[in-house]
């Protein structure tokens, strides 16, 4: 039997952006409120799982553009990249670095190795879960 209906497809298209937006939100403010790379990544993965269940594995691959493994590799490399500033500075590995980039106006953007790391975590989680789900769905066919 078809597993997807018009209603589900339309709903998925409506819900998925919300989920993705929320996942980015969780990622970015995880340092101050519940959330962070993991939780954000898991929510993002949920969004893609919804998409995959609705539109199938192939469409999800196309939507993701990159292969899930590439997302994963990017996440891992970002995680490692967050150690580089400390190594360059000759500090112990994983020492955090913070930069405040002034924005036009009064605002400024707070950027840090911690954030880079969290993004790495996010991507790694997303890549991993996509590997699981897409892999399983493809095998199922």
């Amino acid at each position: 039997m078809r597993t997807s209906t018009l209603i589900l497809q339309t709903a998925a298209l409506a819900i998925m952006p919300l989920q993705l937006m929320f996942s980015a939100f969780l990622l970015l403010r995880g340092h101050n409120e519940p959330g962070g790379g993991f939780i954000g990544g898991l929510v993002a993965a949920s969004a893609f799982v919804l998409y995959a269940f609705t539109f199938g594995a192939d469409s999800t691959r196309k939507l993701l553009r990159a292969k899930p493994q590439d997302l994963l590799a990017a996440g891992l490399l970002l995680g490692l990249a967050s150690t580089i500033p400390a190594l360059i500075a000759g500090q112990p590995m994983l020492t955090a670095h913070w930069w405040q980039l002034p924005l036009p106006g009064e605002g400024y953007l707070k950027l840090s190795t911690v954030l880079i790391f969290d993004i790495g975590v996010y991507l790694a989680v997303l890549g991993t879960l996509m590997t699981f789900v897409i892999g399983l769905m493809e095998v199922e066919q």
Binding site: K67, Q69, D70, L72, A73, A74, L76, L77, G79, L80, T83, A86, L87, G90, Q91, P92, M93, L94, T95, A96
Partner: protein, 504 residues
């Protein structure tokens, strides 16, 4: 900062991530594998050099002071283990160039290999009990994936047992960490050690220490917790077997050495006596298991179990000489056992089987290979003047000096039975004529021009050279083991090095 302390973790992690990113280019992954393991070895030697001069090397991760952040700590034992990891990593990387089935290379073999090494290195270097758990899991998952890579029936069956029993071990470990944290409120090993020392009635600490003992005992494949090992180690492709054989169980042994010298020494009469009998029975059951096998890698697998007993014996006796023996044994065993697995792979390459009954005639066709086999095989059996003899000698001597005659007798008997197994392999694989029913014999001759042969033989020769060198020129190795043992027996130095801030 001591870069050499973080590099052994950072190099394989980076190599693993890069290999993953290079998913599509097997060629680059191959170059990277050799390069990264070579760098790992160099970093290990650098670390060992620093350890020799400084005693302890400590880096506080993220610049957060101990005991709050995670620290990496290297003493001599850790440095030794890292060097060995580098040696084995390099050997396996080279060997893999020729031996890895093409499908495996495109499905993550190299990333898995690097990350396994990273997990192993992390476990050796971390000074934090929970972080140890994390590295264990890195190592474990890498090993799960490597074990199942290829997807054959035996692999699946073996992997189910391997995975289940190791997960049980992990759960026990995690629970023990939780219980320990509940009591002492800290995770830093040095801090735990310090706090435990100041407890008047540390009975509960001892109780929890037994959970660590069981959990690490499972990882180390000690009696009666070893079942996962013989069920699985002979199932993956041979380079993976060899990598596991050399390093994985030793991480469990290392963890036992670490916590039962640094932290859990408040009731040595109980815990270490327990370890003593575990050690004895591990030796015995392992070697008997091997005697019952007629498959090259299964025999070797059971011998891993048996040899773990010797290492544990070193810890259990808890005397300076015994610890030296344990450390020496670890060094010897890692090199020798890896090599034997690699050789089993070469004979498999030649004859297409691991079953002794289907093998034969290698001595006639490949005398040099026969010699290369004899060196690690006899070393494993403790025949002088190879590395294994000195390892066994130190342990047995320590056992006798501790007046544990029965255990010493077992240790010696096990040596004899080990010899029996090695001779069985020798007689069946090398001496015996190639059985008539084996039709694949033509491969025996075609191998000469095999383009990848050098990659198979180089690590075997190198490891055999190490075995010989440890035997013939063992004094430097002995000094390393002695230094390591002295540090293990003086935990206050470790505590000061980590918590006092200043390197010793």
């Amino acid at each position: 900062m001591n870069l050499e302390l973080v590099l052994p973790i950072l190099i394989p992690l980076t190599a693993g991530a890069l290999s993953l990113a290079l998913w599509r280019s097997v060629r680059l992954q191959r170059y990277l594998a050799v390069l990264a393991t070579l760098l790992l070895l160099i970093a290990g030697l650098w670390l060992m050099d620093t350890t020799l001069t400084q005693g302890f090397v400590v880096v506080e991760m993220g610049n957060w002071p101990a005991p709050f952040g995670i620290v990496l700590v290297a003493d001599m034992l850790a440095a030794i283990m890292i060097v060995l990891t580098g040696i084995i990593g390099l050997a396996i990387a080279l060997y893999s160039l020729a031996s890895t089935p093409p499908g495996h290379e495109t499905f993550g073999y190299y990333p898995l290999m690097h990350l396994l090494l990273a997990g192993v290195a992390g476990a050796f270097l971390t000074g934090d009990i929970f972080n140890l758990f994390v590295w264990f899991e890195v190592m474990l998952l890498a090993s799960f994936a490597l074990l199942t890579l290829g997807g054959e029936r035996a692999q699946m069956e073996g992997a189910i047992k391997y995975v289940t029993l190791n997960l049980f071990s992990s759960a026990i470990f995690l629970s023990a960490v939780g219980l320990l944290y509940g009591m002492v409120g800290t995770l830093n090993l040095a801090d735990i050690a310090q706090k435990v020392r100041s407890i008047d009635d540390p009975g509960m600490i001892t109780v929890v220490s037994l959970m660590f003992m069981v959990s690490f005992g499972i990882k180390a494949a000690a009696f009666p917790l070893f079942f996962w090992l013989p069920a699985s180690y002979h199932t993956p492709q041979v380079a993976v077997s060899a990598l596991f054989a050399g390093l994985l169980t030793k991480v469990g042994v290392y963890a036992l050495f670490r916590v039962f010298t640094l932290v859990f020494t408040q009731d040595v009469g109980y815990t270490h006596t327990l370890l003593l009998w575990v050690a004895a029975l591990t030796m015995l059951t392992g070697v008997l298991g091997a005697a019952a096998q007629f498959e090259f890698r299964r025999i070797l697998s059971f011998h891993i179990v048996s040899q773990i007993g010797y290492m544990l014996l070193g810890l259990a006796l808890f005397t300076p000489l015994a610890l030296i023996g344990g450390v020496f044994y670890i060094m010897h065993h890692i090199i020798v056992k890896t090599n034997l697995f690699l050789i089993s792979g070469i004979t498999f390459r030649l004859l297409g089987s691991y079953q002794l009954k289907d093998l034969g005639g290698v001595y006639r066709q490949r005398p040099w290979l026969a010699l290369l086999f004899l060196i690690p095989a006899l070393s494993l059996a403790g025949i002088p003047p190879l590395s294994g003899f000195f390892a066994k000698f130190i342990v047995v001597r320590a056992t006798l000096e501790a007046n544990e005659y029965l255990v010493a007798a077992i240790a010696l008997l096990v040596g004899l039975l080990t010899l029996y197994s090695m001779i069985k392999i020798w007689a069946e694989v090398f001496w015996k004529k190639l059985p008539e029913h084996v039709t694949d014999a033509s491969r025996l001759n075609s191998d000469v021009k095999d383009s990848g042969a050098w990659a198979c033989y180089t690590p075997v020769v190198g490891l055999a050279a190490c075995t010989l060198a440890i035997g013939l020129y063992g004094q430097p190795i002995y000094v390393l083991a002695e230094t390591a043992a002295a540090q293990l027996l003086d935990p206050q130095r470790y505590i000061n090095a980590v918590l006092g801030g200043a390197p010793q």
